[in-house]
């Protein structure tokens, strides 16, 4: 008898202890938030739908109470709402299953030139005590266009190959995505005559000092003078000297990579300095005296790969593009670009490009021999999420041609200043940072790499949450910005997200 009881008991235990707990419940709090903190209307628009988004679909019917206050605007004379708000509040209905609700703002008048006119709507209460307000509790509806005050931006860098660099303007909230391989050199439009390299495409250049005849040099040519350079060796794990006497030997160390040649002690670098200063370019200043402008060998960088990288990784640098020879002249108001294939001995291509005061630089394609539209006008962008960023420089004790990803620079040439806030001690968090906390003297105007790639830890796989950034645009608007992601939810790199707010 007891045997069978025991047997049954153990059998039951076998069954019980082999089941597992799969219970789940919906734990997301229900919150409502305005879709946008600011809504601009144009003179032509007579009504605007104001949207409230929910954190999840509503599990029951109810209402959200919204109050309003006008600035030079009266309910009934300047605006009405639907549902009706003549009582001082608007009851916005919520239907079970919906993920948002909305009401309509009807504009009855327009703003008088030179005056402000706006209505601020604020979430005031809920029919359900469990509901609460989300991140944006009020929305300002302006009768005139106004500068954006906040936003969440999903950048269009384009995934794990990071094919695009993205220019972003905080005051309009506009992002401009441009393929990295459209251009190789950038012609400076200021008073100095300078040429930048596209460091998002690993372009590098070396001067053949003393050579002014573009067609005289080919791969087999001797250099006018030997060059004493160094290169990083994986075997000895340190810099080893390398003596270069021919063009062929020099081109071996021109493309950007760990063993790119250089000699920082002698001030020799085949890339622009990372800071973006005019004095740091690989090209010497272009002289208006033609014979002072020498021939350069230009590595056109690396192709953008097309196969996506595995989850969590990047593939931003593909096959090497060719090395060509280039000579650039200037009369002070325009640049003349002469170029030819490395072994070309008969024909030179020549293009003259006038300076364009609206832009910092004019992008030029040596591949297609024409200017290309890359940068927005100089006051219409604040930061450039360039993705790839390359330069020859130090990494610890060794110097090498470095390739970064997820890189961000700001528009120093356009007068934008930026600094990093590192959260430590009593430094306010991003959420608590206000205009009063801005440290004007910390704004950096002479180094575009304030953000760089330090906002994320790619090896650790996380955003560095100990820092955020403060930016002052050329119009004097202050913004705080905080990165929230560098991959999409599926782990693919090259999908950055940041949030920003005007102070």
């Amino acid at each position: 008898m007891k045997k069978t009881i025991l047997l049954k008991a153990i059998a039951l235990m076998l069954i019980l202890s082999s089941c597992s707990d799969d219970d789940g419940e919906n734990l997301v709090d229900f919150t409502a938030t305005f879709a946008s903190a600011t809504v601009s209307t144009t003179e032509e628009e007579t009504s605007k739908e104001i949207v409230l988004n929910f954190s999840r679909s509503a599990s029951e019917d109810g209402t959200i109470t919204v109050s309003y206050s006008g600035d030079n605007a009266e309910y009934g004379t300047d605006f009405t709402t639907s549902p009706d708000g003549s009582s001082g509040t608007i009851s916005v209905p919520v239907t079970s299953g919906d993920t948002n609700a909305s009401f309509t703002f009807n504009k009855l008048t327009n703003a008088i030139e030179g005056t402000t006119k706006s209505v601020t709507f604020t979430i005031d209460g809920f029919s359900d005590a469990d509901w609460s307000t989300g991140s944006t509790s009020s929305a300002l509806v302006s009768y005139t266009p106004i500068a954006a005050t906040s936003g969440i931006i999903d950048t269009e860098n384009g995934g794990s190959n990071q094919p695009n660099q993205v220019y972003f303007d905080f005051s309009t909230g506009v992002q401009t995505a441009v393929r990295r391989d459209l251009w190789e050199i950038g012609l400076y439009n200021g008073t100095e005559n300078r040429v930048f390299l596209n460091n998002s495409l690993s372009v590098a250049a070396v001067e053949l000092t003393g050579v002014t005849d573009l067609l005289s040099m080919t791969e087999s040519s001797e250099l006018p003078a030997p060059m004493e350079l160094v290169t990083y060796s994986f075997v000895t794990e340190q810099l080893e000297p390398v003596n270069v006497t021919t063009v062929a030997e020099l081109t071996a160390g021109l493309p950007i990579g760990y063993n790119q040649y250089g000699n920082l002690e002698q001030g020799i670098s085949f890339t622009d300095g990372p800071e973006g200063a005019l004095e740091g370019t690989a090209f010497a200043e272009i002289s208006t005296t033609p014979e002072e402008n020498y021939v350069y060998l230009v590595s056109l960088g690396k192709e953008i790969p097309t196969d996506p990288a595995p989850v969590g990784s990047i593939a931003t640098t593909g096959d090497p593009r060719p090395i060509i020879k280039v000579r650039i002249l200037s009369d002070g108001n325009s640049y003349t670009i002469q170029y030819a294939d490395l072994n070309e001995t008969t024909t030179i291509s020549e293009v003259t490009v006038p300076k364009d005061a609206a832009h910092n630089i004019t992008a030029f394609s040596l591949t297609h021999g024409e200017t290309v539209s890359v940068e927005p006008a100089k006051e219409e962008w604040d930061i450039n999420l360039s993705g790839v960023f390359t330069y020859y420089g130090y990494q610890g004790p060794i110097a090498a041609g470095l390739t970064y990803s997820d890189y961000v620079v700001h528009n120093t040439l356009g007068g934008v200043g930026m600094y990093q806030v590192t959260i430590e001690g009593d430094v306010p968090t991003y959420a608590n940072f206000t205009m009063a906390d801005v440290d004007e003297s910390a704004l950096v105007y002479d180094d575009r790499t304030v953000v760089g790639s330090g906002w994320r830890d790619a090896f650790g796989g996380v955003i560095n949450s100990d820092r955020y950034y403060v930016l002052k645009d050329a119009d004097g608007n202050y913004y705080k910005m905080n990165f929230t992601a560098y991959t999409n939810t599926e782990g693919e790199r090259g999908h950055f997200q940041f949030t920003y707010e005007r102070l």
Binding site: T33, S135, K302, G491
Partner: protein
């Protein structure tokens, strides 16, 4: 949860019931345990044709009693206490591999009834020993030394053979049911924490020569949190995710299921044994990092994590036929077909919603199929007392691919086929009654690296009937693994490629074994064994930097290192009435040269291990108390650093287990015990390899999950 309460009640009533039962029956069982103990030592078990040859080698045996006293469910549970074996777990993958004499799992061959087991991308070596279930195991045999002639490639450090239990001794039917509940460190809950094991086995003796057995085992390891906060944890502050690295677990959860069956029968004078095994394992890997993207509609943070799931399935069919060929000449034939598949899933887990948003990968990442056969003819010259001969063959055909070992960057995950044709022979020269010499040779033809000749010479000299000397001089090789041959990761900053032209690593070992048995009285015996061993491994595969055709730096593998291992051990075991005692110590030195071409010869780096166990049986209450201890001395290795070779080390630590096992009735017993009494989790180490970019340097090595307690209830019913 009402189920929990119900289960608590059940267990309570089970105890009351069991204790009541015990009082009635505790006189029924006599001293069967102690008698069994004595038999184990004296009988060498030569009758089992598939067991390792005790004539040629010193074979260590772990039997069911050893398994029972630690309530071992898989091989990793019991090998920790072997003097020359270290079990190293990898908490991120859930794998545990062994090292023997300081040589890792790639140098140790694991067999089931003499047939090599399919491993992730090989045959027999680098086995995850947590995957070997012990429910239908009769005993485990451990042979130390290079056993290449009899067991082929990778049997460099030694061989571990798992012998399946077959047949029933006393009854026609036997039903065995057991449940085992364990804490993992101090973590335990009915479902979501701890370790939960259920076993069931039914055996039937159909006739005198025919028996069948079927069963299953489930081992649900819920993971080891150790301060981590599980898959539903996220730290949100001011609508932003703060990645504090606390999501997930220290040791990922793993659920294993094994189903097995065997048939043991005979036809005339021929014995036939068939074994089937199905194994399924699921390992969940929780990402420590949380993606804190904001929902651009609501502005609210929507934390997600990219989690992974590995599901490994293995099917094994083993067949063995043996019998007399002619007169006293015997034959033994084995056939095996094994498949292993590993499925990989990667998915986006929404932490607040607690559900899967989407799958980013769901595919078969590894697959292999193995056809294997081994056969030999033994005792070929039965009439001669002086000379005898054994001749055999071994054949392996393996096809498969491994997308992970070839590198996630590999564009061409190609299917590879590997074939081995081996022939071997061992001769006996019985010079005198007490002195024998056994020279052996094996010829291997491998489709990857061509021909290879292995040899061995062993001899035994019986000074007296109880004092025996064995000397074994053998060679073996380790074949390059899949990753070393085929890994591929090339982009602008990386150029890492396997080397398909690698040669096997050659190993030679010399073992000297002196064993003396002392009979101390009617039921007392002392066995003392002294061993000295030497390993010389040449052409060790190591990663090297070289340049490819385009003069770019290439990280690859080559046969450049070598190592020498010298060791001494002394093992004593004493059986005395109700006591079983053992005490052993080993002193092992390893000398490694990293990259022979460079002058970086190191001196021997020595380590000391100690092992002891005590067992005491109280027949009046059918109870056995046992405890075992192993001191793992500090180990040192030579590491290649940018400034030249440096010595890294792992500190010493001690394992200790204790258990009480009591037969409450003839059919029902309980084991209650504690594992890892010294509460070992991490051990300081300066020899942990860093990540490719030196970003994840760890200064400790994880060995255990802290002091754990277990309770096993076993019900064993015999009936006719």
């Amino acid at each position: 949860m009402s189920l929990n309460k119900c289960k608590g009640f059940l267990i309570t009533s089970l105890f009351i019931c069991a204790i009541g039962h015990a009082q009635e029956n505790n006189t029924m069982e006599k001293d069967s345990i102690s008698m069994q103990n004595l038999n184990e030592v004296v009988v060498t078990g030569e009758s089992q044709v598939m067991s390792l040859s005790k004539k040629l080698f010193a074979v260590g045996v772990l039997d069911q009693r050893d398994i029972a006293k630690v309530a071992g469910n898989n091989l990793a549970d019991i090998l920790n206490y072997n003097l020359n074996i270290t079990v190293t777990p990898d908490p991120s993958t859930g794998r545990s591999t062994i090292s023997m004499f300081g040589l890792d799992g790639q140098y140790v061959k694991v067999l089931i009834d003499g047939i090599p087991m399919a491993s992730d991308n090989g045959m027999g070596n680098n086995i995850d020993i947590t995957q070997i279930n012990l429910e239908d195991v009769e005993r485990i045999e451990i042979v130390e030394g290079s056993m290449g002639v009899l067991y082929g490639d990778n049997a460099v450090a030694g061989v571990i053979n798992i012998v399946t239990k077959r047949g029933l001794d006393h009854a026609k039917w036997q039903l065995q049911l057991s449940v085992q509940e364990e804490t993992v460190g101090d973590e335990y809950e009915w479902f979501d924490k701890g370790r939960h094991i259920q076993n069931a086995k039914l055996s039937h003796q159909l006739s005198e020569r025919t028996s069948i057995s079927i069963g299953g085992s489930r081992n649900d390891f819920a993971g080891f949190y150790n301060g981590y906060k599980g898959k539903n944890y996220v730290n949100i502050q001011d609508n932003a995710v703060v990645n504090d690295g606390l999501r997930g677990m220290e040791w990922n959860p793993k659920e294993q299921f094994t189903a097995f069956g065997n048939l043991n029968t005979g036809l005339g004078k021929h014995s036939i044994f068939y074994k089937f095994q199905y194994y399924d394992e699921t390992v969940a890997v929780y990402n420590r990092n949380v993606n804190g993207r904001l929902n651009s509609d609501t502005g609210m943070v929507e934390p997600t994590a990219l989690d992974e799931n590995f599901d490994t399935q293995r099917v094994m069919n083993n067949l063995n036929i043996s019998g007399p060929l002619k007169g006293q000449t015997i034959y033994n034939l084995s056939f095996s077909q094994q498949t292993q598949k590993r499925y990989y899933q990667q998915y986006v887990y929404n932490i607040l919603q607690r559900g899967i948003e989407s799958y980013t990968a769901d595919n078969l990442s590894q697959s292999s199929e193995i056809w294997y056969s081994k056969g030999f003819v033994g005792n070929m010259i039965p009439k001669s007392d002086f000379f005898n001969l054994q001749l055999g063959y071994e054949f392996t055909h393996q096809t498969g691919f491994d997308a992970i070992a070839t590198g996630e960057y590999s564009n061409d995950v190609v299917e590879n086929t590997l074939e081995n044709y081996d022939f071997f022979g061992v001769a006996d020269f019985n010079v005198s009654d007490r002195f024998s010499i056994f020279p052996g040779v094996r010829y291997t033809n491998n489709s990857q690296f061509g021909n290879k000749l292995i040899w061995s010479l062993s001899s035994t000299y019986d000074i007296t009937d109880t004092f025996k000397v064995k000397a074994i001089f053998g060679s073996a090789f380790r074949a390059p693994n899949f990753e070393e041959l085929f890994f591929y990761f090339v982009d602008s900053n990386h150029n890492v490629q396997g080397n398909p032209n690698l040669n096997p690593e050659d190993g030679i070992s010399i073992f000297l074994n002196l064993e003396h048995k002392f009979r101390l009285g009617e039921s007392s015996m002392l066995k003392t064994a002294f061993k000295s061993y030497y390993f010389d491994i040449k052409d060790k595969i190591a990663s090297v930097v070289t340049t490819d055709e385009e003069d770019r730096n290439l990280f690859t593998f080559d046969n450049v290192d070598y190592s020498k291992i010298l060791g001494f051990s002394l093992e004593n075991s004493l059986m005395m009435d109700r006591w079983q005692l053992s005490l052993g110590a080993t002193y092992l030195g390893e000398s490694t040269a990293i990259d022979e071409s460079q002058v970086s010869n190191s001196d021997y780096l020595w380590s000391f291990n100690l092992q002891s166990s005590v067992g005491y049986t109280i027949p009046s209450i059918n109870t056995t108390l046992s405890t075992q201890l192993k001191y793992n001395g500090r180990t040192q290795v030579v590491l290649n650093d940018s400034g030249g070779p440096v010595i890294g080390q792992t500190d010493d630590f001690t394992w200790m287990d204790a258990s009480v096992r009591t037969n409450i009735t003839k059919n029902f017993n309980i084991t209650l015990g504690a594992r890892n009494i010294f509460d070992i989790v991490r051990v300081n180490a300066s020899d942990v390899p860093s990540g490719a970019h030196g970003s994840s340097v760890s200064s400790s090595r994880l060995f255990g999950n802290g002091r754990s307690y277990f309770l096993k209830l076993l019900y064993n019913l015999n009936f006719n």
